[in-house]
Symmetry: C2
Subunit: 261 residues, 2 copies
Protein backbone atom coordinates (compact mmCIF):
# COMPACT_ATOMS: atom_id res chain seq x y z
CA UNK A 1 0.00 0.00 0.00
CA UNK A 2 3.00 2.28 -0.35
CA UNK A 3 1.25 4.29 -3.06
CA UNK A 4 -1.43 5.42 -0.63
CA UNK A 5 1.14 7.48 1.25
CA UNK A 6 1.36 11.11 0.15
CA UNK A 7 4.19 11.96 -2.23
CA UNK A 8 6.17 14.96 -1.00
CA UNK A 9 8.62 16.90 -3.19
CA UNK A 10 11.32 18.82 -1.33
CA UNK A 11 13.65 21.59 -2.48
CA UNK A 12 15.43 24.56 -0.94
CA UNK A 13 17.81 27.39 -1.82
CA UNK A 14 20.67 26.77 0.61
CA UNK A 15 21.71 23.67 -1.33
CA UNK A 16 21.12 19.97 -0.89
CA UNK A 17 23.77 19.62 1.86
CA UNK A 18 22.23 22.27 4.14
CA UNK A 19 21.11 21.13 7.61
CA UNK A 20 17.78 22.88 7.03
CA UNK A 21 16.74 20.56 4.20
CA UNK A 22 17.81 17.53 6.26
CA UNK A 23 15.44 18.68 9.01
CA UNK A 24 12.61 19.06 6.51
CA UNK A 25 13.29 15.59 5.08
CA UNK A 26 13.20 14.12 8.60
CA UNK A 27 9.72 15.49 9.16
CA UNK A 28 8.39 14.72 5.66
CA UNK A 29 9.47 11.07 5.92
CA UNK A 30 7.06 10.66 8.83
CA UNK A 31 4.17 11.82 6.64
CA UNK A 32 4.84 10.38 3.22
CA UNK A 33 7.19 9.26 0.48
CA UNK A 34 9.84 11.84 -0.21
CA UNK A 35 11.73 12.92 -3.31
CA UNK A 36 14.36 15.64 -3.08
CA UNK A 37 15.47 17.85 -5.99
CA UNK A 38 17.64 20.68 -4.70
CA UNK A 39 20.46 22.95 -5.87
CA UNK A 40 24.00 21.58 -5.72
CA UNK A 41 25.21 24.84 -4.16
CA UNK A 42 23.76 27.77 -2.17
CA UNK A 43 21.27 29.82 -4.23
CA UNK A 44 20.01 32.29 -1.66
CA UNK A 45 18.45 35.53 -2.87
CA UNK A 46 17.92 34.11 -6.34
CA UNK A 47 14.27 35.12 -6.28
CA UNK A 48 12.32 33.55 -9.11
CA UNK A 49 15.33 33.33 -11.44
CA UNK A 50 15.38 30.55 -14.03
CA UNK A 51 18.24 29.32 -16.18
CA UNK A 52 17.64 29.94 -19.86
CA UNK A 53 21.10 30.72 -21.27
CA UNK A 54 22.93 27.60 -20.19
CA UNK A 55 22.10 23.93 -19.79
CA UNK A 56 21.23 22.25 -16.50
CA UNK A 57 22.58 19.01 -15.08
CA UNK A 58 21.05 16.68 -12.52
CA UNK A 59 22.83 14.00 -10.51
CA UNK A 60 21.25 11.41 -8.24
CA UNK A 61 22.93 11.53 -4.84
CA UNK A 62 22.79 9.29 -1.78
CA UNK A 63 23.13 11.68 1.13
CA UNK A 64 19.73 11.46 2.80
CA UNK A 65 19.24 7.89 3.99
CA UNK A 66 16.42 6.02 2.27
CA UNK A 67 15.33 9.05 0.26
CA UNK A 68 15.56 9.50 -3.51
CA UNK A 69 17.52 12.71 -4.00
CA UNK A 70 18.88 14.68 -6.93
CA UNK A 71 21.17 17.67 -6.97
CA UNK A 72 20.72 20.18 -9.77
CA UNK A 73 23.05 22.85 -11.15
CA UNK A 74 20.16 25.31 -11.57
CA UNK A 75 18.18 27.69 -9.40
CA UNK A 76 15.51 26.61 -6.90
CA UNK A 77 12.83 27.27 -9.54
CA UNK A 78 14.80 25.21 -12.08
CA UNK A 79 14.81 22.32 -9.57
CA UNK A 80 11.03 22.29 -9.37
CA UNK A 81 10.61 22.62 -13.13
CA UNK A 82 12.95 19.73 -13.96
CA UNK A 83 11.43 17.62 -11.19
CA UNK A 84 8.01 18.08 -12.79
CA UNK A 85 9.20 17.28 -16.30
CA UNK A 86 11.80 14.56 -15.69
CA UNK A 87 11.96 13.16 -12.15
CA UNK A 88 8.57 12.84 -10.45
CA UNK A 89 6.74 9.49 -10.78
CA UNK A 90 3.39 11.31 -10.29
CA UNK A 91 2.03 14.66 -9.20
CA UNK A 92 3.11 15.25 -5.59
CA UNK A 93 0.46 15.73 -2.90
CA UNK A 94 2.65 18.39 -1.34
CA UNK A 95 5.78 20.38 -2.11
CA UNK A 96 7.82 21.83 0.74
CA UNK A 97 10.81 24.14 0.45
CA UNK A 98 13.46 24.88 3.07
CA UNK A 99 13.98 24.89 5.91
CA UNK A 100 15.70 28.13 4.98
CA UNK A 101 18.58 29.29 7.13
CA UNK A 102 17.21 32.80 7.79
CA UNK A 103 13.88 34.59 7.77
CA UNK A 104 11.71 35.00 4.67
CA UNK A 105 9.04 37.07 6.38
CA UNK A 106 7.48 40.30 5.06
CA UNK A 107 9.17 41.70 1.93
CA UNK A 108 11.84 38.98 2.00
CA UNK A 109 9.33 36.69 0.31
CA UNK A 110 10.15 38.61 -2.90
CA UNK A 111 13.90 37.88 -2.83
CA UNK A 112 13.72 34.35 -1.49
CA UNK A 113 14.76 31.37 -3.56
CA UNK A 114 13.13 29.15 -0.94
CA UNK A 115 9.75 30.75 -1.47
CA UNK A 116 10.19 30.91 -5.25
CA UNK A 117 10.62 27.14 -5.40
CA UNK A 118 7.34 26.80 -3.48
CA UNK A 119 5.67 29.41 -5.71
CA UNK A 120 6.73 27.47 -8.81
CA UNK A 121 5.24 24.26 -7.41
CA UNK A 122 2.06 26.15 -6.59
CA UNK A 123 1.83 27.57 -10.13
CA UNK A 124 2.01 23.98 -11.36
CA UNK A 125 -0.91 23.07 -9.13
CA UNK A 126 0.77 21.45 -6.12
CA UNK A 127 -0.04 22.35 -2.53
CA UNK A 128 3.13 24.10 -1.42
CA UNK A 129 4.78 25.51 1.70
CA UNK A 130 8.01 27.42 2.20
CA UNK A 131 9.60 27.05 5.65
CA UNK A 132 12.23 29.41 7.05
CA UNK A 133 13.92 29.60 10.44
CA UNK A 134 14.88 33.03 11.80
CA UNK A 135 18.50 31.97 12.29
CA UNK A 136 21.08 32.44 9.52
CA UNK A 137 23.72 30.16 11.05
CA UNK A 138 24.58 26.84 9.43
CA UNK A 139 24.34 25.03 12.79
CA UNK A 140 20.95 26.50 13.73
CA UNK A 141 18.77 24.34 15.98
CA UNK A 142 16.01 22.81 13.85
CA UNK A 143 14.89 20.25 16.47
CA UNK A 144 12.72 22.72 18.38
CA UNK A 145 10.69 23.68 15.32
CA UNK A 146 10.14 20.20 13.87
CA UNK A 147 6.78 19.62 15.65
CA UNK A 148 5.44 22.88 14.18
CA UNK A 149 6.63 21.96 10.71
CA UNK A 150 4.96 18.57 11.02
CA UNK A 151 1.67 20.07 12.24
CA UNK A 152 1.53 22.60 9.40
CA UNK A 153 2.41 20.00 6.75
CA UNK A 154 -0.26 17.66 8.17
CA UNK A 155 -2.85 20.44 8.11
CA UNK A 156 -2.11 21.29 4.51
CA UNK A 157 -2.33 17.62 3.51
CA UNK A 158 -5.66 17.30 5.34
CA UNK A 159 -7.33 20.53 4.24
CA UNK A 160 -8.26 22.27 1.01
CA UNK A 161 -5.81 24.85 -0.26
CA UNK A 162 -7.22 26.27 -3.49
CA UNK A 163 -5.16 26.81 -6.64
CA UNK A 164 -3.29 30.09 -6.43
CA UNK A 165 -2.47 30.03 -2.71
CA UNK A 166 0.59 28.64 -0.93
CA UNK A 167 1.95 29.15 2.59
CA UNK A 168 4.94 31.18 3.73
CA UNK A 169 5.90 29.82 7.15
CA UNK A 170 8.53 31.47 9.32
CA UNK A 171 9.75 29.91 12.55
CA UNK A 172 10.94 32.12 15.42
CA UNK A 173 13.96 31.57 17.65
CA UNK A 174 12.75 32.79 21.07
CA UNK A 175 15.38 33.87 23.57
CA UNK A 176 13.92 31.50 26.17
CA UNK A 177 13.43 28.74 23.60
CA UNK A 178 9.65 28.75 24.14
CA UNK A 179 7.58 29.07 20.96
CA UNK A 180 4.13 30.40 21.93
CA UNK A 181 2.13 28.88 19.06
CA UNK A 182 1.09 29.41 15.43
CA UNK A 183 -0.56 32.51 13.97
CA UNK A 184 -2.13 33.10 10.54
CA UNK A 185 -0.79 36.48 9.42
CA UNK A 186 -0.49 38.95 6.60
CA UNK A 187 2.85 40.01 5.09
CA UNK A 188 4.17 43.04 6.99
CA UNK A 189 4.89 46.20 5.01
CA UNK A 190 8.65 46.45 5.27
CA UNK A 191 11.73 47.06 3.13
CA UNK A 192 15.50 47.00 3.14
CA UNK A 193 17.33 50.31 3.26
CA UNK A 194 20.38 49.76 1.08
CA UNK A 195 23.83 50.70 2.28
CA UNK A 196 26.49 49.61 -0.22
CA UNK A 197 29.95 49.19 1.26
CA UNK A 198 32.34 50.94 -1.16
CA UNK A 199 35.94 49.61 -1.43
CA UNK A 200 38.92 49.90 -3.74
CA UNK A 201 40.44 46.83 -5.39
CA UNK A 202 44.26 46.40 -5.59
CA UNK A 203 44.11 48.19 -8.96
CA UNK A 204 42.46 51.32 -7.59
CA UNK A 205 38.99 50.63 -8.95
CA UNK A 206 35.82 50.90 -6.88
CA UNK A 207 33.65 47.94 -6.03
CA UNK A 208 30.62 47.58 -3.79
CA UNK A 209 29.19 45.03 -1.37
CA UNK A 210 25.45 45.11 -0.89
CA UNK A 211 24.46 45.54 2.75
CA UNK A 212 21.31 47.00 4.23
CA UNK A 213 19.07 47.50 7.22
CA UNK A 214 15.65 45.99 7.56
CA UNK A 215 12.93 48.63 8.11
CA UNK A 216 9.52 47.50 9.34
CA UNK A 217 7.04 50.25 8.47
CA UNK A 218 4.05 48.26 9.70
CA UNK A 219 2.64 48.62 13.23
CA UNK A 220 -0.16 46.09 12.76
CA UNK A 221 -0.50 43.20 15.19
CA UNK A 222 -1.72 40.86 12.46
CA UNK A 223 1.59 40.72 10.54
CA UNK A 224 4.26 38.05 10.26
CA UNK A 225 6.83 40.40 11.79
CA UNK A 226 4.63 40.96 14.86
CA UNK A 227 4.08 37.22 15.29
CA UNK A 228 7.78 36.37 15.01
CA UNK A 229 8.79 39.16 17.37
CA UNK A 230 6.32 37.74 19.90
CA UNK A 231 7.66 34.19 19.55
CA UNK A 232 4.87 32.80 17.34
CA UNK A 233 5.27 30.80 14.14
CA UNK A 234 3.91 32.97 11.30
CA UNK A 235 1.83 31.46 8.48
CA UNK A 236 1.06 33.83 5.59
CA UNK A 237 -1.24 32.68 2.77
CA UNK A 238 0.69 33.83 -0.27
CA UNK A 239 -0.34 34.16 -3.90
CA UNK A 240 1.20 34.62 -7.31
CA UNK A 241 -1.62 36.66 -8.79
CA UNK A 242 0.10 39.99 -8.28
CA UNK A 243 -2.87 42.01 -9.61
CA UNK A 244 -3.93 44.83 -7.33
CA UNK A 245 -7.60 44.16 -8.06
CA UNK A 246 -8.84 47.01 -5.90
CA UNK A 247 -6.86 49.48 -8.01
CA UNK A 248 -8.44 48.57 -11.37
CA UNK A 249 -11.46 50.83 -10.87
CA UNK A 250 -9.21 53.75 -9.92
CA UNK A 251 -6.99 53.30 -12.98
CA UNK A 252 -10.05 53.18 -15.20
CA UNK A 253 -10.72 56.80 -14.19
CA UNK A 254 -7.45 57.99 -15.73
CA UNK A 255 -8.98 57.99 -19.21
CA UNK A 256 -6.27 55.81 -20.77
CA UNK A 257 -8.99 53.89 -22.62
CA UNK A 258 -9.77 57.06 -24.56
CA UNK A 259 -6.24 57.53 -25.84
CA UNK A 260 -5.60 56.96 -29.52
CA UNK A 261 -2.69 57.74 -31.82
CA UNK B 1 14.10 75.79 -13.73
CA UNK B 2 15.60 72.45 -14.70
CA UNK B 3 14.84 71.06 -11.24
CA UNK B 4 11.12 71.45 -11.79
CA UNK B 5 11.25 68.75 -14.45
CA UNK B 6 10.47 65.26 -13.18
CA UNK B 7 13.45 63.01 -12.49
CA UNK B 8 13.04 59.63 -14.19
CA UNK B 9 15.17 56.58 -13.33
CA UNK B 10 15.47 53.95 -16.05
CA UNK B 11 16.65 50.35 -15.92
CA UNK B 12 15.96 47.11 -17.77
CA UNK B 13 17.00 43.47 -17.88
CA UNK B 14 18.18 43.13 -21.48
CA UNK B 15 21.25 45.24 -20.73
CA UNK B 16 22.14 48.88 -21.27
CA UNK B 17 22.89 48.40 -24.98
CA UNK B 18 19.47 46.95 -25.86
CA UNK B 19 17.34 48.87 -28.38
CA UNK B 20 14.39 48.63 -25.97
CA UNK B 21 16.02 50.80 -23.31
CA UNK B 22 17.05 53.32 -25.97
CA UNK B 23 13.39 53.63 -26.97
CA UNK B 24 12.38 54.17 -23.35
CA UNK B 25 15.07 56.82 -22.90
CA UNK B 26 13.83 58.62 -26.04
CA UNK B 27 10.34 58.91 -24.57
CA UNK B 28 11.45 59.73 -21.04
CA UNK B 29 13.66 62.61 -22.22
CA UNK B 30 10.55 64.33 -23.54
CA UNK B 31 9.00 64.25 -20.07
CA UNK B 32 11.84 64.84 -17.64
CA UNK B 33 15.47 64.52 -16.66
CA UNK B 34 16.71 60.99 -17.09
CA UNK B 35 19.26 58.85 -15.28
CA UNK B 36 19.98 55.32 -16.49
CA UNK B 37 21.37 52.51 -14.30
CA UNK B 38 21.16 49.22 -16.16
CA UNK B 39 22.92 45.85 -16.32
CA UNK B 40 26.09 45.63 -18.42
CA UNK B 41 24.82 42.37 -19.95
CA UNK B 42 21.50 40.58 -20.56
CA UNK B 43 19.82 39.52 -17.29
CA UNK B 44 16.52 38.15 -18.55
CA UNK B 45 14.61 35.74 -16.33
CA UNK B 46 16.58 36.82 -13.28
CA UNK B 47 13.36 37.44 -11.35
CA UNK B 48 13.99 39.34 -8.13
CA UNK B 49 17.51 37.99 -7.71
CA UNK B 50 20.04 40.16 -5.85
CA UNK B 51 23.81 39.79 -5.63
CA UNK B 52 24.97 39.04 -2.12
CA UNK B 53 27.95 36.72 -2.56
CA UNK B 54 30.08 38.89 -4.81
CA UNK B 55 30.80 42.58 -5.17
CA UNK B 56 29.19 44.84 -7.74
CA UNK B 57 30.86 47.37 -10.03
CA UNK B 58 29.37 50.44 -11.71
CA UNK B 59 30.81 52.35 -14.65
CA UNK B 60 29.57 55.63 -16.09
CA UNK B 61 29.07 55.23 -19.83
CA UNK B 62 28.36 57.68 -22.64
CA UNK B 63 26.13 55.73 -24.99
CA UNK B 64 22.81 57.56 -24.73
CA UNK B 65 23.33 61.15 -25.94
CA UNK B 66 22.87 63.76 -23.24
CA UNK B 67 21.79 61.26 -20.60
CA UNK B 68 23.70 60.30 -17.46
CA UNK B 69 24.06 56.53 -17.65
CA UNK B 70 25.75 53.83 -15.62
CA UNK B 71 26.23 50.17 -16.38
CA UNK B 72 26.25 47.76 -13.45
CA UNK B 73 27.59 44.22 -13.14
CA UNK B 74 24.60 43.17 -11.02
CA UNK B 75 21.00 42.11 -11.58
CA UNK B 76 18.17 44.52 -12.48
CA UNK B 77 17.22 44.73 -8.80
CA UNK B 78 20.85 45.44 -7.88
CA UNK B 79 20.80 48.34 -10.38
CA UNK B 80 17.87 49.98 -8.63
CA UNK B 81 19.33 49.41 -5.18
CA UNK B 82 22.72 50.91 -6.00
CA UNK B 83 21.05 53.80 -7.83
CA UNK B 84 19.11 54.62 -4.68
CA UNK B 85 22.12 54.41 -2.39
CA UNK B 86 24.92 55.84 -4.55
CA UNK B 87 23.81 57.46 -7.82
CA UNK B 88 20.55 59.38 -7.59
CA UNK B 89 20.73 63.11 -6.78
CA UNK B 90 17.22 62.94 -5.28
CA UNK B 91 14.23 60.63 -5.12
CA UNK B 92 12.95 60.10 -8.68
CA UNK B 93 9.40 61.10 -9.56
CA UNK B 94 9.13 57.97 -11.68
CA UNK B 95 11.03 54.78 -12.39
CA UNK B 96 10.52 52.96 -15.68
CA UNK B 97 11.94 49.60 -16.67
CA UNK B 98 12.31 48.14 -20.15
CA UNK B 99 11.24 48.26 -22.83
CA UNK B 100 11.66 44.52 -22.53
CA UNK B 101 12.24 42.52 -25.68
CA UNK B 102 9.42 40.02 -25.12
CA UNK B 103 6.17 39.80 -23.20
CA UNK B 104 5.93 39.97 -19.41
CA UNK B 105 2.19 39.43 -19.27
CA UNK B 106 0.33 37.03 -16.95
CA UNK B 107 2.58 34.67 -14.97
CA UNK B 108 5.69 36.01 -16.72
CA UNK B 109 5.63 38.91 -14.28
CA UNK B 110 7.07 36.45 -11.74
CA UNK B 111 10.16 35.55 -13.77
CA UNK B 112 10.83 38.96 -15.25
CA UNK B 113 13.91 40.96 -14.37
CA UNK B 114 12.29 43.96 -16.05
CA UNK B 115 9.34 43.87 -13.69
CA UNK B 116 11.53 43.07 -10.67
CA UNK B 117 13.50 46.28 -11.22
CA UNK B 118 10.21 48.19 -11.23
CA UNK B 119 8.99 46.27 -8.17
CA UNK B 120 12.17 47.18 -6.30
CA UNK B 121 11.69 50.87 -7.12
CA UNK B 122 8.09 50.61 -5.96
CA UNK B 123 9.11 49.00 -2.68
CA UNK B 124 11.38 52.00 -2.14
CA UNK B 125 8.45 54.33 -2.66
CA UNK B 126 8.84 55.43 -6.29
CA UNK B 127 6.05 55.40 -8.83
CA UNK B 128 7.13 52.63 -11.18
CA UNK B 129 6.19 51.06 -14.51
CA UNK B 130 7.56 48.03 -16.34
CA UNK B 131 7.18 48.13 -20.14
CA UNK B 132 7.46 45.06 -22.38
CA UNK B 133 6.94 44.61 -26.11
CA UNK B 134 5.54 41.29 -27.34
CA UNK B 135 8.47 40.79 -29.73
CA UNK B 136 11.60 38.97 -28.62
CA UNK B 137 13.76 40.09 -31.54
CA UNK B 138 16.63 42.51 -31.00
CA UNK B 139 15.49 44.66 -33.96
CA UNK B 140 11.85 44.87 -32.87
CA UNK B 141 9.98 47.99 -33.93
CA UNK B 142 9.62 50.26 -30.90
CA UNK B 143 8.53 53.35 -32.87
CA UNK B 144 4.89 52.28 -33.09
CA UNK B 145 4.52 51.90 -29.34
CA UNK B 146 6.30 55.09 -28.24
CA UNK B 147 3.11 57.23 -28.13
CA UNK B 148 1.47 54.67 -25.80
CA UNK B 149 4.53 54.58 -23.56
CA UNK B 150 4.53 58.37 -23.38
CA UNK B 151 0.81 58.55 -22.58
CA UNK B 152 1.07 55.99 -19.77
CA UNK B 153 4.18 57.63 -18.28
CA UNK B 154 2.43 61.03 -18.41
CA UNK B 155 -0.66 59.61 -16.72
CA UNK B 156 1.37 58.08 -13.90
CA UNK B 157 3.24 61.35 -13.38
CA UNK B 158 -0.05 63.28 -13.31
CA UNK B 159 -2.12 60.93 -11.13
CA UNK B 160 -1.90 59.36 -7.68
CA UNK B 161 -0.50 55.86 -7.53
CA UNK B 162 -0.52 54.77 -3.89
CA UNK B 163 2.41 53.03 -2.20
CA UNK B 164 2.33 49.33 -2.92
CA UNK B 165 1.09 49.48 -6.53
CA UNK B 166 3.07 49.67 -9.75
CA UNK B 167 2.09 49.07 -13.38
CA UNK B 168 2.92 46.13 -15.63
CA UNK B 169 2.47 47.37 -19.21
CA UNK B 170 2.66 45.04 -22.20
CA UNK B 171 2.60 46.34 -25.75
CA UNK B 172 1.11 44.20 -28.55
CA UNK B 173 2.48 43.69 -32.05
CA UNK B 174 -0.68 43.52 -34.19
CA UNK B 175 -0.42 41.76 -37.53
CA UNK B 176 -1.85 44.81 -39.30
CA UNK B 177 0.27 47.21 -37.19
CA UNK B 178 -2.87 48.85 -35.72
CA UNK B 179 -2.95 49.03 -31.92
CA UNK B 180 -6.59 49.41 -30.84
CA UNK B 181 -6.02 51.27 -27.56
CA UNK B 182 -5.17 50.78 -23.88
CA UNK B 183 -6.97 48.49 -21.42
CA UNK B 184 -6.66 48.21 -17.63
CA UNK B 185 -6.50 44.46 -16.94
CA UNK B 186 -5.89 41.77 -14.40
CA UNK B 187 -3.06 39.22 -14.66
CA UNK B 188 -4.30 36.18 -16.59
CA UNK B 189 -4.08 32.79 -14.88
CA UNK B 190 -1.49 31.02 -16.98
CA UNK B 191 1.64 28.93 -16.64
CA UNK B 192 4.51 27.38 -18.56
CA UNK B 193 4.45 23.66 -19.19
CA UNK B 194 8.07 22.61 -18.95
CA UNK B 195 9.67 20.47 -21.59
CA UNK B 196 13.38 20.01 -20.96
CA UNK B 197 15.41 19.11 -24.03
CA UNK B 198 17.72 16.26 -22.96
CA UNK B 199 21.11 15.89 -24.72
CA UNK B 200 24.40 14.11 -24.22
CA UNK B 201 27.68 16.02 -23.98
CA UNK B 202 30.83 14.76 -25.78
CA UNK B 203 31.68 12.80 -22.60
CA UNK B 204 28.41 10.87 -22.56
CA UNK B 205 26.79 12.78 -19.73
CA UNK B 206 23.23 14.14 -19.85
CA UNK B 207 22.44 17.81 -19.84
CA UNK B 208 19.15 19.67 -20.26
CA UNK B 209 17.93 22.87 -21.91
CA UNK B 210 14.83 24.42 -20.42
CA UNK B 211 12.08 24.89 -22.95
CA UNK B 212 8.35 25.09 -22.45
CA UNK B 213 4.94 25.93 -23.78
CA UNK B 214 2.81 28.77 -22.52
CA UNK B 215 -0.60 27.61 -21.29
CA UNK B 216 -3.34 30.21 -20.78
CA UNK B 217 -5.93 28.67 -18.43
CA UNK B 218 -7.96 31.87 -18.21
CA UNK B 219 -10.95 32.58 -20.47
CA UNK B 220 -11.75 35.97 -18.94
CA UNK B 221 -12.04 39.00 -21.21
CA UNK B 222 -10.60 41.29 -18.53
CA UNK B 223 -7.08 39.78 -18.60
CA UNK B 224 -3.81 41.04 -20.04
CA UNK B 225 -3.63 38.02 -22.36
CA UNK B 226 -7.06 38.81 -23.79
CA UNK B 227 -6.14 42.47 -24.33
CA UNK B 228 -2.85 41.64 -26.07
CA UNK B 229 -4.47 39.01 -28.26
CA UNK B 230 -7.01 41.62 -29.35
CA UNK B 231 -4.32 44.22 -30.15
CA UNK B 232 -4.73 46.37 -27.01
CA UNK B 233 -1.96 47.61 -24.72
CA UNK B 234 -2.46 45.87 -21.35
CA UNK B 235 -1.95 47.76 -18.08
CA UNK B 236 -2.06 45.60 -14.94
CA UNK B 237 -1.88 47.25 -11.50
CA UNK B 238 0.63 45.03 -9.75
CA UNK B 239 1.56 44.74 -6.09
CA UNK B 240 4.27 43.26 -3.91
CA UNK B 241 2.04 42.44 -0.97
CA UNK B 242 1.67 38.77 -1.85
CA UNK B 243 -0.74 38.05 1.02
CA UNK B 244 -3.88 36.23 -0.03
CA UNK B 245 -5.98 38.29 2.37
CA UNK B 246 -9.21 36.50 1.51
CA UNK B 247 -7.68 33.20 2.61
CA UNK B 248 -6.78 34.28 6.16
CA UNK B 249 -10.25 33.56 7.53
CA UNK B 250 -10.27 30.10 5.94
CA UNK B 251 -6.85 29.20 7.37
CA UNK B 252 -7.98 30.34 10.80
CA UNK B 253 -10.52 27.49 10.71
CA UNK B 254 -7.78 24.86 10.53
CA UNK B 255 -7.17 25.08 14.28
CA UNK B 256 -3.43 25.73 13.96
CA UNK B 257 -3.72 28.37 16.69
CA UNK B 258 -4.66 25.61 19.13
CA UNK B 259 -1.54 23.55 18.48
CA UNK B 260 1.05 23.36 21.23
CA UNK B 261 4.08 21.15 21.83
Amino acid sequence: MENSRPLILISNDDGITAPGIAALIDVAKQLGDVIVVAPDKPQSAMGHAITINQPIRITEVDIHAGVKAYQCTGTPVDCVKIAIDKLLPRKPDLMVSGVNHGSNSSINVIYSGTMSAAVEASIDGMKAIGFSLCDYSWNANFEVVKPYIKQIMSSVLANDLPYGTLLNVNLPVPEDGQIKGIKICRQAQAKWKESFDQRKDPFGRDYYWMTGNFVNMDHGQDTDEWALKHDYVSVVPTMFDLTDHQRIAQLNQWGLDEFSV
